[in-house]
Each structure stands twice: as structure tokens, then as C-alpha cells.
């Protein structure tokens, strides 16, 4: 399989503002081209748009707005992991030889229809994500003896790290007490345990090996991809305190990259809610089951940004179609040692974990210098 690299990126700040989807797609793509004037748009073979927005024909629209006439142009929707699904599609186009260079642009508005999976009637009248998050939280806390105070460290850590991210939605830091005393959504979930839907866009450009070497120094290579969908409905999750799709996707990605989880220096993981972060770390194998919070507490106390350096979804915000792309940009910046105040200690290998619909589907990417 031929190598595929990430050669450029662009983004806009995540906000609660009301902007047209076409406008924000254009802005992050424009940011990419402004930062990389050496890119010849005529060499872009495909334009993929990642979004849950109901607007139609967004990829040809974006292509026209930025002056590209691609061979391939279409949208990709897979709820919250649309972004990494799009990157995997771009990778496939390039590694198959169908394309040499692919633009992937993700965007979402604060009022995205992708926040609720209407099809999932097994959830009864409890379709909002706060209900599956509450069930996971209750089960995880009970299985491993984790208190609300201990779990609140996820939110405290990720808001703190987001403060170093100029594009993050959150600009504040919080204490454990403030998380615990924030609005009680259910007995097992506080407002500050939740990532927030928002308006945002992020774009990356993927290229074949020859093109990547020509355009970037150093190119960041996608060396591992793992994906798994176990179901669409939340109630089909066999475990409520671990994430099966994440476990399987992580194993596949690490096998493809020929690495073990201990080789990973920095990771962006899908902390849609506080409880997701320890469950993900455990499912990926960073820790044993039930020990995810020990790792998170240690990282927080030692000011180590290894997990979710940009602030995760809780701190950075969650514009669904842009999230996986924004996570990927963060790992590219980390590996290029350009993450400024968020920079971890000269990482060589990074991982992105992005999931959908109560972890019924997960995507894991491994990136390397």
C-alpha cells in the first residue's frame, strides 16, 4: 500500500455563532490555502465534505467557491465521526491510485441535526445523548468505584488544556467543585461533563508520498487506520462500562501501524462526555480496565498534555463534522512541534480516536513523522 501524508491544514475558531455552512467550509479551506501558497489547486483530484448538515451538494459548492474542479466530489456523513471517516476515504482514494491529492473539509453548525439519532427508537423517549451518557456514567462509576468528584477531573483537565487552544469554544477553567455544582442534567451527569455542539470548520489536505515530500517538511504520515461499527442503536452495546468498537478499531489501527499502544506519545480521544475519556483510554489499552481515571488524574497533576492537548471535545467544542478533522490537525501540529503552549515533549507517534452514537462506531488513526 502506498504511503499517504497530511500536507496542509486550516481551521477557524469554534463558536456559538450563526454562520452558513457554506461560509464556514470556505473559511477553513481558505485558511489552508493561505497558509500553504505552494499548493497548486489544479492538482487536487478530490474534495470531500464531512458534515451532518442538511444542505445539499456541499462538495461541488465548496469546490466552486475555492476554484477547484475535482474529479471526485461528495459529502460524507457518519454522525460524530464523519471527520475521520472522510479522512479514511481520502486515504483510500490516494492509496488506490484514484487520486494524488484530496481536500477534506468538515463543518457543522451549532444546531446540527446530527446530534440526535432519530432512527434509534430503542432509546424510547430518551433519544438525547445525555441519556446514554448518564447510563454509561452510572455503570462505569458503579463497576469501578469512581466518584463524581473523581470523574470531574476529566472536565477540569480538558477545560484547562483548551485554554491554550486559541480555536477552542471554552475560554474558562473550572475546579472540581464547579463541575460538580454545574447544572444537574441527570443524577449522573452535570452540564460541565458535556461537550457542546457548536459552529466550526476544519480542513486537511492529504497527498501521495511523492506529492507529500514535495509539499511539506516534515510530512505527517497516516500509518494506521482502524474502524469498527458494532451497531447503530445504543442499546445494542453489550458492555456499558467499556467500548467494544473502540477496542477493535484501536487494535486494527495499531496492527496496521505495527506499533503497540505504549508507543503512542500523544492522542486526541473523543470525550463527548467526561465518562468517555477513561472508557476510551481503557478500551484502547492505555490502562487496564477501571484505571483510566488514575492516568487522567496523573496527567492533570503533572500538567502533561498527552491526552487531548487541544482540550478534547469538552474544552474545544464539538462541531460534529469538523471534530475528527480538528483532532487530526492537533496531532499533526504536535508531531510537527508547532502546537505552541500545548506542545508535548517531542512526540513521534500520535493517535486519533473519533466515535459516533454512543460508541456504536469508532475510528482510530495512527500518525507518524
Amino acid at each position: 500500500m502506498s504511503k499517504v501524508g497530511i500536507v496542509a491544514y486550516g481551521t477557524i475558531p469554534f463558536t456559538k455563532e450563526d454562520h452558513k455552512i457554506e461560509s464556514i467550509l470556505h473559511k477553513s479551506t481558505n485558511d489552508l490555502f493561505q497558509k500553504n501558497p505552494n499548493i497548486n489547486k489544479k492538482e487536487i483530484d478530490a474534495v470531500l465534505v464531512s458534515t451532518n448538515n442538511n444542505s445539499k451538494y456541499l462538495s461541488p459548492i465548496l469546490s466552486e467557491m475555492v476554484g477547484i474542479q475535482p474529479k471526485i466530489a461528495h459529502s460524507i456523513e457518519s454522525l460524530c465521526n464523519s471527520g475521520t471517516n472522510s479522512i479514511v476515504s481520502a486515504f483510500s482514494y490516494i492509496s488506490s491510485g484514484l487520486a494524488d491529492m484530496v481536500l477534506v473539509s468538515g463543518a457543522e453548525r451549532y444546531d446540527s441535526p446530527g446530534q440526535i439519532l432519530e432512527w434509534d427508537n430503542s432509546r424510547g423517549e430518551f433519544k438525547h445523548p445525555i441519556f446514554w451518557a448518564s447510563i454509561f456514567s452510572k455503570s462505569y462509576k458503579q463497576d469501578y468505584g469512581i466518584s463524581d468528584e473523581r470523574l470531574a477531573i476529566v472536565s477540569v483537565k480538558n477545560h484547562k488544556q483548551a485554554k491554550q487552544n486559541p480555536n477552542a469554544l471554552s475560554k474558562k477553567t473550572y475546579t472540581v467543585e464547579e463541575v460538580i455544582n454545574s447544572t444537574k442534567l441527570t443524577d449522573d451527569l452535570r452540564l460541565l461533563d458535556c461537550s457542546r455542539p457548536c459552529t466550526g470548520s476544519a480542513s486537511v489536505l492529504l497527498a501521495s508520498e511523492d506529492m507529500a515530500k514535495k509539499l511539506t517538511d516534515p510530512p505527517i504520515w497516516i500509518t494506521g487506520i482502524g474502524q469498527k461499527t458494532t451497531s447503530a442503536g445504543f442499546t445494542k452495546n453489550t458492555s456499558l462500562s467499556s467500548l467494544e468498537s473502540t477496542k477493535l478499531a484501536g487494535q486494527s489501527a495499531l496492527k496496521m501501524a505495527n506499533h503497540s499502544i505504549s508507543d503512542i506519545d500523544v492522542a486526541e480521544v473523543h470525550d463527548a462526555f467526561s465518562v468517555c475519556e477513561p472508557m476510551i483510554l481503557e478500551s484502547l489499552g492505555f490502562t487496564n480496565p477501571g484505571e483510566g481515571m488514575n492516568m487522567i488524574k496523573n496527567l492533570y497533576e503533572t500538567n502533561n498534555f498527552k491526552i487531548n492537548p487541544r482540550g478534547g471535545l469538552i474544552g474545544a467544542g464539538h462541531p460534529l463534522g469538523a471534530t475528527g478533522i480538528s483532532q487530526t490537525i492537533e496531532i499533526v501540529q504536535q508531531l510537527q512541534n508547532s502546537a505552541e503552549n500545548r506542545q508535548t515533549d517531542n512526540p513521534k507517534k500520535g493517535l486519533i480516536h473519533n466515535m459516533s452514537a454512543a460508541a456504536t462506531s469508532s475510528t482510530v488513526l495512527v500518525l507518524e513523522k
Binding site: 434509534d120 424510547g124 447510563i135
Partner: protein, 102 residues
């Protein structure tokens, strides 16, 4: 007779494959195992509470039937894990299913 037409009348039915007898959930006309057609079993089915939490004064529970169907239901009294319950009320409201258990 479809699952939804029965549910809209307040009747919870179990969809079962007429060929391989697998219980099919979420409800479907066809079996996800052998692709055979399904039929509906009527009755007062007992389920088990797998997990629950609470919003305001209402409990919401994940309830399991026949080791294969899991759904989210409302409960007015304090639940316990592994508690055996029955559906007391169900239907369709604004396009979404709803289930209450006692």
C-alpha cells in the same frame, strides 16, 4: 399488523423470525440472521433492569427482554438493577416510541 401499528395502540409485541425463530430487535419485517419474514408475538413480557439513572423525578432505565431486546423505559418508582418489570404503557408520540415499566 406491524410492530408500530400495535405499539401505537399501546400493545408491545416481540418480533420473531418465522423461519429461524430469532427475536429481531429493533423491530423489522425481516430477520437479520436468515432474512426470513418476522411475525409478532403478543403477551405480557417480563424484562430485567440492566441499568438506570434519574432526571428530575423520573427514572429512566435500560430494560432487557429475552436476553436480546434492550430498550429505554421510564419508571416512576425507584428501580433496582436486575429488578423484574413489565411494560405498563407504551406507544408512539411525535414519531418516537415510548415505554413505561412497573
Amino acid at each position: 399488523m406491524s410492530f408500530e401499528s400495535e405499539l401505537s395502540k399501546g400493545q408491545f409485541c416481540i418480533p420473531e423470525c418465522m423461519t429461524c425463530k430469532k427475536i429481531v430487535w429493533p423491530p423489522s419485517e425481516f430477520c437479520d440472521n436468515c432474512n426470513g419474514e418476522t411475525s409478532l408475538k403478543k403477551g405480557e413480557f417480563e424484562g430485567k433492569i440492566v441499568e438506570f439513572s434519574k432526571q428530575n423525578e423520573n427514572y429512566f432505565c435500560m430494560v432487557e427482554f429475552f436476553d436480546s431486546i434492550r430498550l429505554m423505559a421510564k419508571m416512576n418508582t425507584s428501580p433496582k438493577k436486575d429488578q423484574i418489570v413489565k411494560i405498563s404503557k407504551c406507544g408512539i408520540s411525535e414519531g418516537s416510541y415510548f415505554f413505561h415499566v412497573i
